[in-house]
Symmetry: C2
Subunit: 415 residues, 2 copies
């Protein structure tokens, strides 16, 4: 089964908003074995929508459309749907009841004509009732393709996918199995990894595909298996992952779908009942922010002292002024003292500290832009690494965030 | 001029990553008057890419492709480009020099064959040199369409758009002007607004388009004008905005700028020579991290005390234990004290403080998940707002980050 996802709205085409709806729909379809062939964003223009539906007719099994279902003049999806299927709009009493309830009870207003019009649906459409908003979804089967129209408001779209679209698809179609396994590696670039696993990659069975997903400081390797026999897929996937583990065990830091290193470190800290703090200069609180993006972080994370200005390093972290003058604020010695001081001040078992030059300007130091020192203090010792992360600013910060977490991860794993 | 943006990569089609590259490219093109006709995400499959290029040939003026330029086997864009244009790969010495520099100097490794292959480019392509990564961009003119291929790593794509693609497009083509004005409204739903401005909307000139962008609690109204005479567009836009302001002045809260709020706040602080600090609980350092993402932040930002654990609020921020016990850690009183204390401790003119429940678990408090208190301390007074941001965690944090910055912005603007 192949799907195409369409998002309708000029706001995406002018770059005003990021299309997160398609990502959610694609992920949800993937989980039940439906492959997304393409994702297309088009304008809220009637002819553009008609042309796009026509092009997809009988080319894919299902087309899921979001957006353009609101009550205002720029919302043209419903009328266009009617025109494409040569259908007419009729009032749906159940939808009208829901709209009336939401407007009267939740918004505490009386209904206007625009609200009432939301209860109009194409006469042949299966109505997908929307309990969390006023615009219903619509399901139309036409020749060999199913067309589904959903509202663009993310939580309404998610509700209708979960409660209406996915159950319908599961009951209607036999689907193949799709299994993904994502392996997280830290510390090597993708070209080095590709060299190391060349023979493994060449010998993969045809139904398993390997993808490299690089980001600053880390590479995710994703294996995807597709087929009709779930057990065969699972067994072969396990066998291949085991083979891969043997080749690059030194750089693998974890698995599971999408689990980021901050979650892995969080689990290890929780398990071992350790606590963590950070002292951040050029990373400006990003390490703390990434750590606390994991729910349950309060079990191990106590806090951070973001010492962006040198005076905060001196006054709050109590780094010796003399040390900063002698060694410069961007130095291993200062990073080490920052880590040790924040660990002591916030009373934690571990700490991560950063000092460096993120650019584009050098600031007060002599160090080259992109030069960073990252230190971790542990219950037994303090470790420091110097790195050169180049440019731009965003990359320098992100690589340092990952590197700091990686240093803690490696220490905990080897314990 | 019309453009289509293509992103290549199975990770988008299985919903593993959100496509932010297209948003950036669309926004960048829009600024120079180039309209994005469609955004398409396709798989990293040679035939799929070839079919897509063929379909777009001579249908749009420019096709910008991101992704699939890495050094590994799943990166097929370059070979596919060659096949589509019936061209061959040749070594580009300048690219090889750059790759050698990045691998030797930055990564401190020697070159392998995979690295060397990155210097191969189609013989007829204009090479778009990439100073921040190993994969060069490529610019190919074929019949009536320009095809541009860029790497998928966001900062490399951004670098090449800014330094190579946009300057090339500006020097090559006369473009129409596109002006947007986005008006922020709070407090009314889109159907009510549509009723109130119906006559305004019906009387808009044909070259100005109105769009409604609703999200929980607010509606953005976007006016878009397109034409060849910039002054005519600007004058007419001003006239229409003035008309609109008169009709719905009670719900307009501001206008949206292209610049993110952290940059606007940064400019105002720099101008007025003020300094800023933050004390963050559930936002975990994200406000500090967002503030320091702006280059030049060291001119006004001194640092943050991320007091995730209650003991850090007591020991470092010196919030009275009694106050926390009486009012609860998630309260206006604690937020206000946090703001005042961090302002005093880090010796700044302004501060932002947050305390709340981001979820999914309640933690130590009675407060409902999604309840947050945001306080700002200014040279003359301390202000606090209570908000209910619902779920999930990520949304609660992001809305609080924006709200805190918005509070400082409003204070500075009204000064």
């Amino acid at each position: 089964m192949k799907a195409t996802i369409i998002t309708i709205g000029d706001e995406i085409l002018i770059g005003q908003i990021i299309d997160t709806n398609s990502t959610h729909i694609a992920k949800t379809l993937d989980k039940i074995g439906i492959q997304t062939h393409e994702i297309i964003s088009i304008s809220d223009d009637k002819q553009h929508i008609l042309d796009t539906l026509q092009k997809l007719q009988n080319k894919v099994d299902i087309v899921i459309i979001t957006g353009g279902l609101g009550p205002t003049k720029d919302d043209v999806t419903k009328k266009t749907f009617c025109e494409y299927f040569n259908d007419t709009l009729v009032q749906n009493d159940e939808v009208l009841e829901n709209v009336t309830y939401l407007i009267n009870k939740v918004l505490k207003r009386s209904l206007n004509q625009t609200n009432k019009d939301q209860a109009l649906v194409p006469s042949r459409a299966l109505v997908l009732h929307n309990a969390v908003g006023t615009a219903p979804g619509m399901w139309m089967e036409h020749e060999k393709t199913i067309f589904v129209s959903l509202p663009g408001v993310p939580y309404e779209m998610k509700y209708l996918m979960e409660k209406r679209v996915i159950p319908n698809l599961i009951s209607k179609f036999e689907r193949p199995f799709i299994i993904h396994k994502t392996i997280l590696t830290y510390g090597e670039g993708e070209s080095v990894i590709a060299d190391r696993i060349e023979s493994f990659e060449n010998n993969l069975p045809s139904f398993i595909k390997l993808a490299y997903l690089p980001s600053p400081g880390r590479v995710r390797l994703r294996l995807t298996a597709r087929g009709t026999n779930e057990q065969v897929l699972k067994d072969e996937m396990d066998r291949q992952v085991e083979k891969l583990e043997k080749i690059i065990s030194d750089i693998i830091v974890g698995y599971e779908d999408d689990e980021p290193i901050e979650a892995i470190v969080g689990k290890l800290l929780t398990e071992k009942k350790y606590t963590l703090s950070t002292a951040e200069s050029f990373t400006g609180g990003k390490i703390a922010s990434v750590i606390t993006s994991v729910s349950g972080a309060s079990n191990y994370f106590k806090g951070s002292i973001v010492s962006y200005a040198t005076e905060v390093k001196e006054n709050i972290l109590q780094i010796e002024k003399q040390l900063i003058e002698q060694k410069s604020v961007v130095s291993a010695e200062v990073a080490i003292q920052m880590a040790e001081q924040v660990k002591k001040i916030l009373k934690t078992d571990f700490s991560i500290a950063t000092t460096g030059v993120a650019g584009p300007n050098k600031g007060e130091t002599e160090a080259e832009i992109g030069t960073v020192f990252i230190a971790i203090a542990t219950p037994t010792e303090t470790l420091c690494e110097e790195h050169y992360f180049g440019q731009p600013r965003e990359k320098v910060v992100n690589r340092a965030v990952n590197k700091g977490l990686e240093m803690v991860f490696k220490y905990l794993r080897n314990q």
